[in-house]
C-alpha cells in the first residue's frame, strides 16, 4: 500500500519534471533529483476515517488470495446474480445493442429523456403522485445516487436515521458527507420491522431525515403500509 502511494507520488513528480524537461530547461536536473528525493507517506483523507464497507472488506481480500492459490470458494457474500447463472433478459440486451450507436455522447446530466419517461410511468404504477421528468435523476447505479444524496444534504454534525442492520453503503455515505448515522433498531422478534419507538428516541435537533430500506437488505423484510404510515407520521411531526 505504502509502496504504491510512494510510486504514485513519484510518478506525479516525474510527470511534472518531464513537462519542464520538454521545455528544454532541466532535463538533467530532473533525472538526478528524482533518485534522491525522500517521499512522504501518503495517507488517505481523514474524511474516510470512520467509513466502513465490509461487504468488500478484509475477509474478501483473504478469499481472493485463497482463490489465487487455486482453492475453490463458494461466495455467498454479495448480491450479484450474474455469476450464478442469472442472465439479463434477452430483450434488454438486444435493445441496448441496437441503440449502442447513439451512446457515445454525454446525455443530459439527469439522464436520457426516454429512460426518465419510463421511470416516470413506473412511479405512476407505484402510485407516487406528481413526479415530472425533472424530478428524476439517473445515476451509475443507486450507489452513486446514495452518495450524492448525502453529499448534497449534510453539514458536519448533521444526523441521519439509518436502519440497523443496514445496507452499509448508507452509513458510509452519511459518514463520508460529514454526518453521523444514528442507527434505529429493526426488531427481529417482529419480523425485522423498524421499531418506531426507537426511531423517536434517536431523533435530535440535528436529525435531517430517515433512511428506509424496503424490501430490506440484509433481513428480507417487507414493510406493510401501517409501518410506513408510522414513519411518515414521525417525519411529518418533526418537520423533515
Amino acid at each position: 500500500m505504502l509502496e504504491k502511494s510512494v510510486d504514485y507520488h513519484g510518478f506525479q513528480m516525474l510527470a511534472r519534471f518531464n513537462c519542464m524537461a520538454t521545455q528544454g530547461k532541466i532535463a538533467h536536473f530532473a533525472n538526478t533529483f528524482i533518485l534522491r528525493v525522500t517521499m512522504q507517506p501518503l495517507s488517505k483523507s481523514s474524511k474516510l476515517n470512520n467509513v466502513c464497507y465490509d461487504i468488500r472488506g478484509p475477509v474478501l481480500a483473504r478469499a481472493k488470495e485463497m482463490e489465487e492459490e487455486g482453492q475453490r470458494i463458494i461466495k455467498l457474500n454479495i448480491g450479484n446474480p450474474a455469476p450464478f447463472g442469472f442472465e439479463a433478459p434477452e430483450e434488454i440486451l438486444q435493445d441496448v445493442i441496437r441503440n449502442m450507436d447513439g451512446a457515445s455522447g454525454y446525455t443530459d446530466s439527469k439522464g436520457l429523456f426516454a429512460a426518465r419517461k419510463a421511470i416516470m410511468h413506473y412511479t405512476q404504477q407505484k402510485n407516487i403522485r406528481g413526479v415530472g421528468i425533472d424530478d428524476i435523476i439517473i445515476g451509475n447505479g443507486v450507489s452513486e445516487l446514495i452518495v450524492m444524496s448525502m453529499q448534497a444534504l449534510l453539514n458536519n454534525g448533521d444526523q441521519v436515521l439509518v436502519p440497523m442492520p443496514d445496507y452499509p453503503l448508507w452509513t458510509a455515505a452519511v459518514t463520508l458527507a460529514g454526518g453521523t448515522a444514528r442507527h434505529y433498531l429493526c426488531d427481529e422478534q417482529s419480523g425485522w420491522m423498524p421499531d418506531l419507538k426507537d426511531i423517536e428516541n434517536k431523533i435530535t435537533a440535528n436529525t435531517r431525515g430517515i433512511v428506509l430500506i424496503n424490501p430490506n437488505n440484509p433481513t428480507g423484510a417487507l414493510y406493510p403500509p401501517e409501518i410506513l404510515q408510522g414513519i411518515i407520521e414521525i417525519a411529518r411531526h418533526h418537520g423533515w
Binding site: I73, M100, I128, G220, I232
Partner: protein
C-alpha cells in the same frame, strides 16, 4: 425527509406486494431510489435512479444541490441508461423467478430450511430480496469477534459470508447469506456451514447446551413464524 431505497421492489415471494412509502403522503419530502441491478439482474449495467416527490417547496435549495452534483459528473453511463425503457416496459421475467416454482423462491426455501435446522440458528423467513440474516444463539455460539468467525469459516470450509457487524448490527451474533447459487451449490454451502458450526459447538463444548435449549429454541422459532404469518 424520507430516503427510500427500494431496489428490491420486484423481488417478492409468496404473492407479497410492495408499497412505496412515497405513495402514502404528499406533505413530506421523499427521495425514492430504484434501479435495474436486482429486479433485472443487470448489476453491471450500473443503471439506477432517484425520484423526488411529495412536498418539495421548502427543498428547492437541496434539489439544486443534487442537480449540481449530477452536473459535475456530466451524466450516467449511457449504455446502461439504454436498458431502462425496455426493462421497465417489457416482460417482467423476475415474476417467474420469484413464483413458487421459480429458481429464486426455491433457493430461498432451501436456504431457510437448511439454516433453521442447524442447532442454535434461527432465522426470519425473507419475504423479499436475495438474503437471509440468521441469528446465532450466543449461548451456543459465544462469538466475540464475528469477522474472525467469518474468516474461520472461510479458512475451514471455503465459504465466504459477511458478518452481521458488517451491516452495522450491534452484536456479533448474526451473519448474512446470499441465496443466489443453484440448489446443488446452495446445498453444498449450507452443509459446509452446518459442519463448521458443529465443529464450533464441539470446540466450545456447547453441545450439551443444545439439547437443553432445543425445545426453548423451537418455541422461539414458532413464535417468530406466527409473527411472520
Amino acid at each position: 425527509m424520507i430516503f427510500a431505497d427500494e431496489i428490491y421492489d420486484k423481488v417478492l415471494y409468496d404473492g407479497n406486494t410492495h408499497t412505496s412509502v412515497a405513495s402514502l403522503a404528499d406533505d413530506v419530502l421523499f427521495v425514492t431510489f430504484n434501479g435495474l441491478s436486482k429486479n433485472y439482474r443487470t448489476c453491471g449495467y450500473r443503471a439506477g435512479w432517484l425520484v423526488i416527490s411529495g412536498e418539495k417547496r421548502h427543498a428547492k435549495d437541496y434539489i439544486e444541490g443534487l442537480n449540481m452534483l449530477a452536473s459535475m459528473r456530466l451524466c450516467a453511463n449511457v449504455p446502461g441508461q439504454l436498458a431502462i425503457q425496455t426493462a421497465l416496459g417489457g416482460y417482467q421475467s423476475i415474476d417467474d423467478l420469484v413464483a413458487p416454482t421459480g429458481r429464486l423462491c426455491k433457493q430461498r426455501d432451501l436456504a431457510y430450511k437448511m439454516l433453521s435446522e442447524i442447532p442454535g440458528v434461527s432465522c426470519v423467513k425473507p419475504k423479499a430480496g436475495l438474503y437471509l440474516f440468521p441469528r446465532l444463539d450466543p449461548k451456543i455460539y459465544p462469538i466475540e469477534d464475528d469477522q474472525q468467525f467469518i474468516l474461520d469459516l472461510l479458512l475451514e470450509e471455503r465459504v465466504l459470508l459477511v458478518q452481521g457487524t458488517g451491516f452495522n448490527w450491534h452484536a456479533p451474533d448474526h451473519f448474512r447469506v446470499v441465496f443466489l447459487p443453484n440448489v446443488d451449490d446452495l446445498t453444498e454451502a449450507m452443509t459446509r456451514i452446518a459442519r463448521f458450526l458443529e465443529n464450533y459447538r464441539k470446540q466450545h463444548s456447547t453441545i450439551s447446551l443444545v439439547s437443553n435449549t432445543s425445545s426453548k429454541e423451537l418455541a422461539h422459532k414458532d413464535k417468530k413464524q406466527n409473527v411472520q404469518a
